[in-house]
């Protein structure tokens, strides 16, 4: 990611555009509840993690968080959300995701370490609830395309209050 020649700058710019575009596309899939397509963005060994609001840096292996999904559980989560018996999301809430400040922090072999700020609104049952924080992605290049190897959403909220759940994908 270093270097200041024109070629290097253009390469970096293209990569940044590719990553921003990837994240915007992902947000659209989630806002449109195209969850099966969203799942296809992940590698098989990926994780989706949301730490608790008091231990944003806690290791989920030894710290109680809010979500700590491997792919089996993430697929289960999507399966559940598609059911009319996932009552918190039946009918589905409306969501709108604003994702900015996308930065490629590091590149190690095929892995891109990316951070971004998010503001996600969930709108349902007469309530508008904002959820804000930072994403920490590890994006991996697999056969020309980017895949999500790890996706962590760290909330800035001090508590899930007043809205009490993370029933949508954050």
């Amino acid at each position: 990611m270093r270097g200041n020649s024109l070629d290097e700058k253009i390469t970096r710019l293209l990569l940044e555009r590719e990553v921003e575009d990837f994240i915007a596309r992902e947000a659209a899939l989630l806002d449109e509840w195209r969850l099966d397509e969203w799942l296809e963005l992940f590698t098989d060994d990926a994780r989706y993690v949301v730490p608790s609001t008091d231990k944003p840096n806690g290791d989920p292996k030894e710290t109680l968080g809010i979500i700590n999904d491997d792919m089996a559980r993430l697929r289960g989560r999507v399966e559940r959300l598609k059911s009319r018996h996932a009552h918190r999301e039946f009918p589905w809430s409306r969501t709108r995701r604003f994702i900015t400040n996308v930065r490629i922090k590091d590149v190690v072999a095929e892995d891109l370490f990316v951070t971004a700020s998010f503001l996600v609104y969930r709108i349902r049952s007469g309530q508008v609830d904002p959820l804000m924080g930072a994403y920490e992605y590890i994006l991996r290049r697999v056969e020309e395309t980017l895949k999500i190897g790890s996706r962590k959403a760290v909330l800035d909220l001090e508590a899930l209050r007043p809205h009490g759940t993370l029933s949508i994908i954050l």
């Binding site: 949301v50 730490p51 608790s52 609001t53 008091d54 231990k55 806690g58 989920p60 292996k61 030894e62 710290t63 109680l64 968080g65 809010i66 979500i67 700590n68 089996a72 559980r73 289960g76 989560r77 399966e79 559940r80 059911s83 018996h85 996932a86 009552h87 918190r88 999301e89 049952s125 309530q127 001090e158 508590a159 899930l160 209050r161 007043p162 809205h163 009490g164 759940t165 993370l166 029933s167």
Partner: protein, 430 residues
């Protein structure tokens, strides 16, 4: 408001009803603050949260800003978080370790036993100023049962042990499962629910909703494969098939057999990982040896939903959870959830325990969001003027099963006694 008529009970007809106004009335919410939250023992924390001298945690209990701290003398104390000079908070972090708490406003300084140790320009105070009487103030009563700490703002409250009544037996049944004691795992789930706090008390006891409301959770666990088969009770002792119980003083418990669900203590399921099988079966064997088949069966192969009246739920299901909640007005509440793990548990089983916990419980689990949806939906439903009552009659005329509402009625009877200004319900049981 006609307080005596808020609950209607007809024992001969087996009917028990509660007037819906109890969930939205600000008048009742004010009475609850005065007659319940300023009167009962209220959970504040587990002693593993402040193991070392100087360790502290900040808490709000019944709206009161508090912090609790282990003093340099190893004693646990609870203080109102307010400087005795001009009132600012002296504890400004949720957790940490401190020898001294210095107020940031005028730099009055207190030690971790609450004594006022330093006052800038002390010479400016006259002869009536007594530094030793200006220490931090504690709530009138603080006590613990097996490391679970409670406070009471009522100097005259009965002793904690007598207040907990038969709930002590069930606390024992949970805490005895670990031979090396328990610790609170770092990480706290804090969230708001837009419903009256009593909905959480009731939902915490209620087993009747589990199958219909949480079908997606069971579908998920069943998709993972089958765990160890259900263990039948070793003998047909009373309650062997599960039951709902009043534990007196408004406390209650629902005990039911663990079927498809994992219990990290001693009921294996694929969600806990193949590696955990050995650790779990050897723990079960040790518990059988120590406590006998019957009690080990209850510990390992039954689940417990317990409510310590009024607002502390101790659940022993997919993990052991500590859930305490308090009103934020008549139609909203603040909830805090933590989990206990046995000290000395292997890193791998702890990891699986937490994953198992998160798959069912908490604001991002596969089940609890639907509890919250149900509570909030009921809160909206209570605005309807037509229907006047909620019903809590199940099982009044049969020997209680785990699906009955015996514990729910026990909660309501104690609640009603408090609202009426009495200390105790006339009857604890149906």
């Amino acid at each position: 408001m006609n307080l005596p008529e808020l609950i209607r009970e007809d024992r001969s007809a087996g009917v028990f009803r509660v007037h819906r106004s109890v969930f939205g009335s600000t008048e009742i919410a004010a009475l609850e603050q005065k007659n319940i939250f300023q009167r009962c023992w209220l959970y504040i924390g587990h002693d593993s949260e402040i193991p070392n001298a100087g360790d502290f945690r900040r808490r709000t209990v019944a709206g009161q800003p508090l912090f609790w701290v282990r003093g340099g003398d190893a004693r646990v104390r609870v203080f109102y978080n307010s400087c005795t000079h001009w009132g600012a908070n002296v504890c400004r972090l949720d957790e940490g370790n401190a020898e001294l708490f210095q107020c940031f406003y005028h730099a009055w300084t207190f030690n971790n036993q609450g004594d006022l140790v330093s006052v800038p320009d002390e010479a400016g105070y006259g002869s009536g100023f007594r530094k030793q009487a200006m220490g931090l103030v504690s709530p009138p009563r603080v006590d613990n049962y097996r490391g679970l700490y409670f406070v009471s703002f009522n100097r005259e409250v009965e002793d904690l042990a007598s207040y907990l009544a038969e709930a002590k037996d069930y606390i024992d049944l949970i805490l005895d499962q670990s031979e090396e004691g328990w610790r609170v795992v770092p990480g706290t789930q804090k969230y708001g629910v837009r419903a009256n706090w009593k909905m959480f008390s009731l939902n915490s006891l209620d087993n009747y909703h589990v199958r219909p409301l949480h079908s997606t959770f069971f579908k998920y666990t069943e998709s993972l494969g089958t765990g160890d088969p259900p263990v039948p009770p070793p003998t047909e002792f009373p309650g062997a098939q599960g039951r709902a119980l009043s534990l007196r003083n408004g406390h209650g418990v629902d005990v039911f057999q663990s079927l498809t669900r994992a219990r990290p203590i001693a009921h294996w399921h694929p969600i806990l990982g193949a590696d955990a099988k050995e650790e779990i079966s050897s723990r079960r064997a040790r518990l059988v040896k120590k406590f006998g088949e019957e009690r080990a069966y209850l510990m390992c192969n039954t689940n417990r939903l317990m409510l310590i009246y009024p607002n502390f739920a101790l659940h022993d299901i997919a993990g052991v959870s500590l859930r305490y909640f308090e009103p934020a007005g008549a139609d909203a509440m603040d909830v805090t959830v933590q989990t206990l793990a046995p000290r000395g548990e292997s890193a791998e089983l702890l990891n699986r325990r937490l994953e198992n916990f998160l798959s069912f419980l908490g604001p991002g689990g596969f089940a609890h969001p639907d509890d919250i949806e149900a509570m909030e939906s009921a809160q909206v439903g209570f605005r309807a003027n037509g229907p006047e009552w909620i019903d809590a009659s199940r099982g009044m005329q049969r020997d209680g099963t785990a699906l009955d509402e015996i514990h729910v009625r026990a909660f309501w009877r104690q609640w009603h006694a408090h609202i009426m200004g009495a200390a105790k319900a006339e009857r604890d049981h149906d």
